[in-house]
């Protein structure tokens, strides 16, 4: 009989992150809710399981707007934009609190606490690798669009987590993710600056920065493809 993989460590982290996120004093709580949800989603995907996935997505989505704003509020942005971000944060926070107070939030934790471990015969990286490869195929190698590369980074994340659940070497994927990290941050900053809509010059500067980051990322694409191929 092969090794089984229990999700309990990350379920415990999700439970305590929900408490910290609900208290609202430490932004790390909201961040950890999202991280734990992503880790557990990768665990389900690795085992080809579906039940629980939509609950994690619901929780992750509920925490998303506050998390994005928490990150942007630490960035060097014009004071007027910072004030706008502050106001947006105050608008987003009650929706998150409402979600965390719903019985579904705690029930999601209970659901995972009750689940059995993944059995070795359940483990299959195929679907995760397919999704990452598909995202990679969508990237135009000559004129890479920053949003497309941002999607690649997002699709590589569950691949990395699935490897880590299996205690396999995920360094190659982690390095690519780190390399694309600045681009992903810039994508979100650009998106919010455009939503703010008060500084067109800054938007243009961010667009130029994004293009540059995307161009710098293009030469790494063949290596990502090869890494994914090697994992099959």
């Amino acid at each position: 009989m092969g090794r089984s993989i229990a999700s309990s460590a990350w379920v415990r982290r999700l439970r305590s992150a929900i408490v910290v996120a609900r208290r609202g004093e430490d932004p790390e709580g909201v961040h950890q809710v999202r991280v734990a949800c992503r880790r557990l989603t990768a665990w389900l995907d690795l085992g080809g399981r579906r039940v629980g996935r939509d609950d994690l997505k619901w929780l992750r989505d509920a925490a998303g707007p506050v998390r994005d704003l928490d990150v942007l509020l630490t960035r060097d942005v014009p004071p007027a934009m910072k004030r706008w971000l502050d106001r947006e944060w105050k608008k987003a926070r009650p929706a998150l609190e409402q979600a965390l107070d719903e019985p579904r939030a705690l029930a999601t934790v209970r659901l995972f606490e009750n689940m059995g471990p993944l059995r070795s015969e359940e483990l299959d990286m195929g679907a995760l690798l397919d999704k990452a490869a598909k995202a990679l195929d969508r990237v135009d190698g000559k004129a890479a669009h920053p949003e497309e590369l941002h999607v690649v980074r997002r699709k590589l994340r569950p691949v990395r987590f699935a490897l880590e659940w299996q205690k396999k070497d995920a360094r190659a994927i982690a390095e690519v993710q780190d390399a694309l990290g600045a681009l992903s941050d810039a994508v979100i900053l650009h998106r919010m600056t455009a939503q703010w809509g008060k500084d067109r010059a800054r938007e243009r500067a961010l667009e130029a920065e994004l293009r540059q980051l995307a161009r710098a990322a293009i030469p790494t694409l063949p290596a990502i493809r090869a890494t994914l191929k090697g994992l099959r």
Binding site: V51, G52, L106, T108, R110, E113, N114, G116
Partner: protein, 162 residues
């Protein structure tokens, strides 16, 4: 709209898991319910929402129903608790499956068909059994019975198809 109340399949006995909530389906229970799913398939039954209790035996039963789902799943703790605690307005799909436990499934059936949980004992759910209801909305007394599908019948339907 249609609502399918499903009692979880056969699980390991009390005491065979670290908690009651962690009781898994038995190998035979899993196999038998897979046959029930085929029976539902033979009736062309599909779901656009699949709601289940957070208890392992219900979640594992729900997982076996996933091939019939074209929509989302949702955990609802009320399905492991008193049925009169369930917010019926959350049953919003056109074809929703609810996977839970006795006596709560009987209570829920009674509420939806009769208007109160008083007749719960008349809705005797076998493990893996399905009660098929229809109505204009999921509200007390607003639904009628289409069929009670015990597991034996569902499995017979599945073998009749092959």
């Amino acid at each position: 709209m249609e609502v399918f109340l499903v009692r979880h399949a056969v699980a390991v006995a009390d005491g065979a898991a670290r908690t009651d909530a962690a009781r898994a389906l038995t190998k035979a229970g899993r196999k038998e319910f897979a046959g029930c799913v085929k029976g539902l398939e033979a009736l062309d039954i599909t779901f656009d929402a699949l709601v289940h209790s957070p208890l392992r035996r219900a979640a594992e039963t729900a997982e076996l129903l996933v091939p019939l789902l074209d929509g989302r799943t949702r955990v609802d703790p009320a399905l492991a608790d008193r049925a009169d605690g369930m917010d019926l307005s959350t049953i919003a799909g056109e074809r929703t499956a609810l996977v839970g436990h006795e006596p709560y499934m009987g209570q829920l059936a009674s509420i939806l068909v009769v208007g109160s949980s008083d007749a719960a004992r008349r809705f005797a759910f076998e493990k893996g059994g399905v009660l098929w209801l229809q109505g204009t909305r999921a509200a007390p007394g607003a639904m009628e019975i289409v069929a009670m599908l015990p597991p034996k019948v569902l499995r017979a339907l599945s073998s009749g198809r092959s």
